[in-house]
């Protein structure tokens, strides 16, 4: 029984360290030299996929739908506003509603490519065949998506994370003294911009939302600015 628990604790730690690993990889971000989008580009902003939870004292993330909805709506608004500010034409699509046919395949492929991009930013999973190659593509099947939704680019955003409860913050403090690492929660956000003519992922970024709380409009604005910094909009 004890053995089982130790193993379990290791497993928990590994799950969290996965996220931490990814976060650590962040400063390795390369500045990509990308041409800015042509003026008045039509940018299809995919409805951000946001899932937030409350990290309770016991370490159990409890889903908080109100936070998820607020985060999603705030991010969607901030993203659309940003696209508009840059003199482009934003439109919106909930990818969950476009999963049939070839567009569905493209969206699923983007999931996989996004996962590969993320894995490649993590030292332990970086592929030597991908070391100096930041060019990722979905192929020219994306033209279907562009034609169906009358867009030149698609912007995907995913956010996952948890916020620590007060009790958990206290536990983390105690843990710190005792030399045990207790994750405090955190939110990871991934964005990618896909050229809907070539299929190329022209730009992507991954940030850990530090002080910016996407549950609030201001926080979401700040997070979007940070996330989209360097985006060729």
């Amino acid at each position: 029984m004890f053995k089982k628990k130790v193993f379990a604790l290791t497993a928990v730690f590994l799950l969290f360290s996965l996220v931490v690993d990814a976060a650590d990889a962040q400063p390795r971000r390369r500045t990509q030299r990308i041409e800015p989008l042509p003026e008045h580009s039509r940018v299809l902003v995919m409805m951000p996929d946001v899932q937030l939870s409350l990290l309770t004292a016991a370490g159990l993330p409890e889903p908080r739908e109100d936070w998820s909805v607020a985060g999603r709506d705030n991010l969607a608004q901030s993203l659309a506003a940003l696209v508009g500010r840059e003199q482009h034409v934003p439109s919106a699509l909930n990818p969950a509603e476009a999963m049939e046919g070839r567009t569905g395949q493209i969206i699923r492929l983007h999931d996989v490519v996004g996962g590969a991009i993320l894995a490649n930013r993590t030292p332990a999973t970086q592929l030597p065949t991908r070391k100096n190659n930041n060019v990722w593509t979905l192929g020219d099947g994306v033209q279907e998506l562009g034609a169906a939704y009358e867009a030149d680019y698609a912007l995907f955003v995913v956010a996952r994370g948890s916020y620590a409860s007060g009790a958990r913050a206290a536990a983390a403090l105690v843990g710190l003294v005792a030399g045990v690492y207790i994750p405090m929660g955190g939110q990871q956000t991934f964005a990618s911009l896909v050229d809907l003519r070539t299929g190329q992922v022209v730009w992507f970024n991954f940030v850990t939302a530090g002080a910016n709380d996407m549950r609030e409009a201001d926080g979401a604005n700040a997070l979007v600015l940070e996330l989209m910094r360097g985006a060729p909009l």
């Binding site: 996965l18 690993d21 492929l109 996989v112 996962g115 894995a119 030292p123 999973t125 592929l127 192929g139």
Partner: protein
């Protein structure tokens, strides 16, 4: 659950712990004989060797360029009673290779192994005779999809060599990725030699 997600997580969880976070090995372009393989192939470009984080039995190599979900080349030599997939424990049944398998049974062995890896409803198509490293074998194409519903196309070549089974298999999303690699993979299959 596709092996890819398993691969990603296992990479950090298992691979990292086991190997002290060693980096993923690179297989150079040119002639390549995987450890334990009964044949060699010629690769036209370098591949990443993801075997260590792919949860496969010994004798099975998994190579990739962009990640196992986007392209994976499996090179294997399987002994009698051996498997293409690794299971949780010794007792969990799995498709096993037998040295007296007929051609259709060899194809069935590969397809059923893919089902065990959570590829959905895998189907073999276009079975045809083709030799692998000089031995008469079966070439076939594969249609399947991931659990998330991403269509996957594949192709494989199997042939018996003595008691063992030699196997080459390539899998990639049907959208864009498979087509980009098809010719190169044909050449890899054709290059197999003892």
């Amino acid at each position: 659950m596709s092996i890819s997600r398993r691969g990603l997580l296992a990479a950090v969880a298992g691979g990292c712990i086991a190997s002290g976070c060693a980096t993923i090995p690179l297989v150079k372009a040119g002639p390549y004989r995987a450890r334990g393989a009964g044949f060699a192939v010629t690769l036209s470009r370098p591949w990443s060797d993801l075997t260590a984080m792919s949860f496969r039995p010994t004798g099975v190599r998994v190579l990739s360029i962009d990640g196992v979900q986007l392209n994976q080349l499996v090179i294997a030599t399987i002994e009698p009673q051996g498997a293409l997939v690794r299971m949780v424990d010794r007792d969990t049944p799995r498709p096993l290779y037998r040295s007296d398998m007929g051609e259709t049974e060899l194809v069935e062995f590969v397809i059923d192994s893919l089902a065990t890896l959570e590829y959905q409803d895998p189907q073999s198509t276009n079975l045809r005779p083709q030799s692998l490293a000089g031995a008469p074998g079966v070439r076939f194409d594969i249609n399947t999809r991931t659990e998330a519903g991403l269509n996957i196309t594949g192709t494989a070549l199997v042939a018996r060599a003595g008691e063992n089974l030699n196997l080459l298999m390539f899998l990639a999303p049907s959208e864009h990725y498979y087509g980009v690699f098809a010719q190169e993979i044909d050449a890899v299959f054709a290059s197999a030699a003892t």
